[in-house]
C-alpha cells in the first residue's frame, strides 16, 4: 500500500464531495444557455472525485501508473536522475520539532503577520520588520547582517517598484 497516495486521495475525495455539494447553490440553467453555470463545475468535480477514487484504489494496490514514455522503460516514464544533494550534518531540534519544519512554520507565520501589518504600519516599516524576521528564520544570526540585509532588500524593492515603476504600496493607517 502507498499510504501517502491513499491519504491524499481521501482528502481530495472529501474535498470533491464538498465542492459537489457547493455546486448545488449555482443556478442551473439560463434561457439561451441550456447548460447553465452549474454544469461545468459539476462535470469537473465529478471527474475530480473519480480521479481521487483512482488514486485511492491504486494506492491501496501499491501501484503507481506513470504517464508518457520519454525514453524510459515500456510503461514507465524515464527516471530523471536527481542531482546529488551535498551531505550535511543533521540539524538540532527546535522546540522539539525538526529545524527545517520550524523554519517553514516561521516563514508562513512571518509572512502572514507581514500581510496583517502591511495596511497598519505601511510598506516600509512592515517590510523592514518582516524581512528581518525572514533573514533570521533562514539562518542568519549576525544582528548587523540581519538589519543591513533587511534595509537593503526593502530599499531596493521600494526604489524599483514604488519609485521607478510607480506602483502604489500600502501606506500606514495607524500613524
Amino acid at each position: 500500500m502507498i499510504r501517502r497516495n491513499v491519504i491524499s486521495g481521501s482528502v481530495c475525495l472529501a474535498f470533491g464531495l464538498f465542492v459537489y455539494w457547493l455546486t448545488g447553490q449555482v443556478p442551473a440553467q439560463a434561457s439561451l444557455d441550456m447548460l447553465g453555470g452549474r454544469f461545468f463545475p459539476r462535470v469537473v468535480t465529478v471527474l475530480f472525485i473519480l480521479s481521487s477514487l483512482g488514486l485511492i484504489a491504486t494506492g491501496l494496490m501499491g501501484i503507481e501508473i506513470s504517464g508518457g514514455q520519454v525514453g524510459g522503460k515500456k510503461g514507465q516514464a524515464a527516471e530523471l536522475p536527481e542531482p546529488a544533494e551535498p551531505a550535511t550534518e543533521p540539524e538540532p531540534l527546535v522546540f522539539g520539532i525538526p529545524a527545517g519544519t520550524a523554519r517553514l512554520l516561521g516563514y508562513v507565520v512571518g509572512m502572514a503577520t507581514y500581510t496583517v501589518i502591511l495596511p497598519l504600519v505601511g510598506y516600509i516599516v512592515a517590510s523592514l520588520l518582516a524581512f528581518s524576521g525572514l533573514i533570521f528564520t533562514t539562518g542568519e544570526r549576525r544582528p548587523l547582517h540581519i538589519v543591513s540585509g533587511s534595509v537593503a532588500i526593502t530599499a531596493l524593492l521600494y526604489i524599483l517598484f514604488a519609485v521607478i515603476f510607480s506602483m502604489n504600496v500600502p501606506e500606514a493607517s495607524l500613524f
Partner: protein, 498 residues
C-alpha cells in the same frame, strides 16, 4: 504570401533602442534567474509580468521571451560549476559539464553551453516562423467545438505526460479547472463560488496562483533544506576553439530538432528534451565512452535541445492558443492580459506583433551569445549569494508582484495560500504545471463548451460529427487512458509469467 511591409514594420519595431534594451534586460534577468536555485522561466516571467503593464505588448513579450531563453542557459551554468542545475532544464548538462569543470575546463564548458544554447534558440525560432504560419492558417477553420477539443487535448497531455502518477496529474488539472469556476459566470453574469466576497467577483487571477505555486512554494522548499554554501569549481577563462565548435555542429543541429519537436508537445519541457538529446548524442558519438567524463558533445547536446524547446513551445501557443510548457502558459496569460487573443486569429489580427516576436526571439539568441560569453567569468559570483537574502528577496518580489496585480491585499493572502498549497503539492508529488495550464485554458474550454451547445441547439454529437474536433478529442482520450490500459496489461502479463 506574407506582405513584406509587415515584416519590415515588425523588424523596425524590434530594432528600437527601447525594445532592444528590455530584451537585453530580459535575457540578463533570465541568466541570473537560471543560475539561482529554484527560479525557473515560469517563476521569473510570472514575477516580472505585473511590472510590464505599462509597456507596449510586443516589448513586454519580447522581454519575457528573452528571460525564458536566458534562464535555460543559466541553469546549465550552475550544472557545470556547482553540480546542481539552477533550472531543471540544466540537469542533463551536469553529466559532462561538471567533469569538464573539474578538469580545469570550466571556461570551455560555459562557452560551449552559451554557443549551443544560442544556436538552438536561433534555429528553433526559424522553424517556428516556418511551421506556425501554415498551422495557424489551418486552425482558422476552428470553431467552438474545435477549441474545446484542443483545450481538452492540451490538458490531457499535460496531465498524463511526464508525471509519476497519472491520477495525481488529473487531480491537479481538475483542481485548476475548479479554480477557474470561481468568479462570475461568463454567460449569465451571476456570481459563482464567491462566498459573498467582492474580491472574488473577477475570479482568482492565474498570476496570483502562479506566483504562489511557483515562487512562494519554491521558497518554502528551499527554506526547509539545511543551508549549504555551494562549492564552486575554479575555472580558466579559456573558451572553446573554432575547430571544436565546428565539430559540434551536427550534434547541435540534431539536438535542436529534438528540442523543437519535444517543445511542441504540451507538457514536455526543456528537461525532457535535454535528456533525450543527451542520449541521442551518446548513441551517435564516435567516442561514447567519453560521455560522463567531460565530453564536449555531452554538454552541447542538452543545452541546444533545452533552448530549442522555447521555439517549439511557441508553435502551439501562437498557432492554436495552447501553451506547450509552464513558461509558455505564463506567456499565454500575459498575452491575454494585454488584450491579445493567442490562436490563429492573431496572425491575421496582429501580424506585426507576431513577426515582432519572431524577430525578438532571433535577436534574443544573439544577445544571449554576446552576454553569455561576456559574463561567463562573473556568473559564478551570483551563486555565492547567501540563501537567507535570496529567499527574502524572492519573497519580497513575489509579494510586490501580488500587490501590483489588483492592488488588493486579498491577493497577497491568496499568494501565501497558494504558496502553501504548492509546497504541499510538491511534497505529495502532485505536479503543479497541469494546474497552471488548466487555469489558463479553463475559461476557453468552458466558454467553447457552452457556445458549442448553443450552436448545436443542445446536440452533443457536434463534437463527434465534426472531423477535426472528433480526431482531437479521440487523441485526448487516448493520451490519458493509454498509460492506464498499458499498466493493467503489464500487470496481467507479470502475473501470468509468475
Amino acid at each position: 504570401m506574407v506582405d513584406m511591409s509587415i515584416i519590415l514594420e515588425a523588424l523596425l519595431n524590434v530594432l528600437t533602442p527601447y525594445t532592444l534594451m528590455f530584451l537585453v534586460i530580459g535575457v540578463f534577468i533570465g541568466i541570473v534567474a537560471g543560475i539561482l536555485p529554484g527560479i525557473n522561466g515560469a517563476i521569473g516571467i510570472s514575477l516580472i509580468l505585473p511590472f510590464t503593464f505599462g509597456m507596449p505588448p510586443a516589448t513586454a513579450l519580447i522581454m519575457m521571451l528573452g528571460l525564458w531563453g536566458g534562464q535555460n542557459f543559466g541553469g546549465g551554468v550552475t550544472a557545470a560549476l556547482v553540480h546542481a542545475p539552477g533550472a531543471a532544464s540544466g540537469a542533463a548538462t551536469l553529466f559532462d559539464g561538471y567533469p569538464m569543470a573539474q578538469k580545469g575546463q570550466a571556461g570551455k564548458a560555459l562557452g560551449i553551453i552559451c554557443i549551443a544554447s544560442s544556436i538552438g534558440w536561433f534555429l528553433s525560432t526559424i522553424m517556428l516562423a516556418v511551421i506556425a504560419v501554415p498551422l495557424a492558417a489551418f486552425a482558422l477553420r476552428f470553431s467552438a467545438p474545435e477549441y474545446l477539443a484542443v483545450g481538452v487535448f492540451g490538458l490531457s497531455m499535460v496531465a498524463s505526460m511526464a508525471t509519476k502518477n497519472i491520477f495525481k496529474g488529473a487531480i491537479a488539472t481538475l483542481f485548476g479547472l475548479m479554480i477557474v469556476s470561481v468568479g462570475t459566470d461568463p454567460f449569465s453574469g451571476l456570481p459563482r463560488f464567491t462566498f459573498g466576497r467582492y474580491e472574488l467577483l473577477d475570479g482568482i487571477s492565474y498570476l496570483v496562483v502562479m506566483i504562489g505555486v511557483f515562487a512562494i512554494a519554491e521558497a518554502l522548499v528551499q527554506i526547509e533544506k539545511p543551508a549549504v554554501q555551494a562549492k564552486i569549481m575554479k575555472f580558466s577563462r579559456e573558451l572553446p576553439t573554432w575547430a571544436e565548435v565546428k565539430s559540434l555542429m551536427p550534434v547541435i543541429l540534431r539536438s535542436t530538432g529534438i528540442g523543437m519537436l519535444v517543445g511542441t508537445a504540451p507538457g514536455a519541457g526543456g528537461s525532457i528534451a535535454a535528456f533525450i538529446a543527451y542520449n541521442e548524442a551518446k548513441r551517435f558519438s564516435k567516442t561514447p565512452e567519453e560521455f560522463g567524463h567531460g565530453a564536449i558533445e555531452g554538454v552541447a547536446a542538452p543545452e541546444a535541445a533545452n533552448n530549442a524547446t522555447e521555439g517549439g513551445a511557441m508553435v502551439p501557443l501562437l498557432a492554436l492558443g495552447i501553451p506547450g510548457s509552464g513558461a509558455a502558459a505564463v506567456i499565454l496569460a500575459s498575452m491575454i492580459m494585454f488584450g491579445l487573443r493567442p490562436g490563429p486569429q492573431i496572425f491575421t489580427d496582429q501580424p506585426v506583433l507576431v513577426y515582432s516576436l519572431f524577430f525578438g526571439l532571433a535577436i534574443g539568441a544573439v544577445v544571449l551569445l554576446i552576454l553569455g560569453l561576456l559574463l561567463t567569468p562573473y556568473l559564478a559570483l551570483v551563486i555565492r549569494l547567501p540563501r537567507a537574502y535570496l529567499i527574502t528577496g524572492v519573497t519580497g518580489i513575489a509579494f510586490m508582484a501580488a500587490m501590483a496585480i489588483t492592488g488588493l491585499l486579498f491577493d497577497v493572502w491568496l499568494v501565501l495560500l497558494f504558496g502553501v498549497l504548492g509546497y504541499t503539492m510538491r511534497k505529495l508529488e502532485f505536479p503543479p504545471a497541469p494546474m497552471i495550464l488548466a487555469l489558463v485554458l479553463g475559461f476557453m474550454i468552458e466558454t467553447s463548451l457552452r457556445r458549442s451547445m448553443i450552436l448545436s441547439d443542445g446536440d452533443w454529437s457536434i463534437f463527434f460529427t465534426r472531423p477535426i474536433s472528433a480526431t482531437i478529442l479521440g487523441l485526448a482520450i487516448l493520451s490519458f487512458f493509454y498509460p492506464i490500459i498499458r499498466a493493467m496489461l503489464s500487470r496481467r502479463k507479470d502475473r501470468e509469467t509468475v
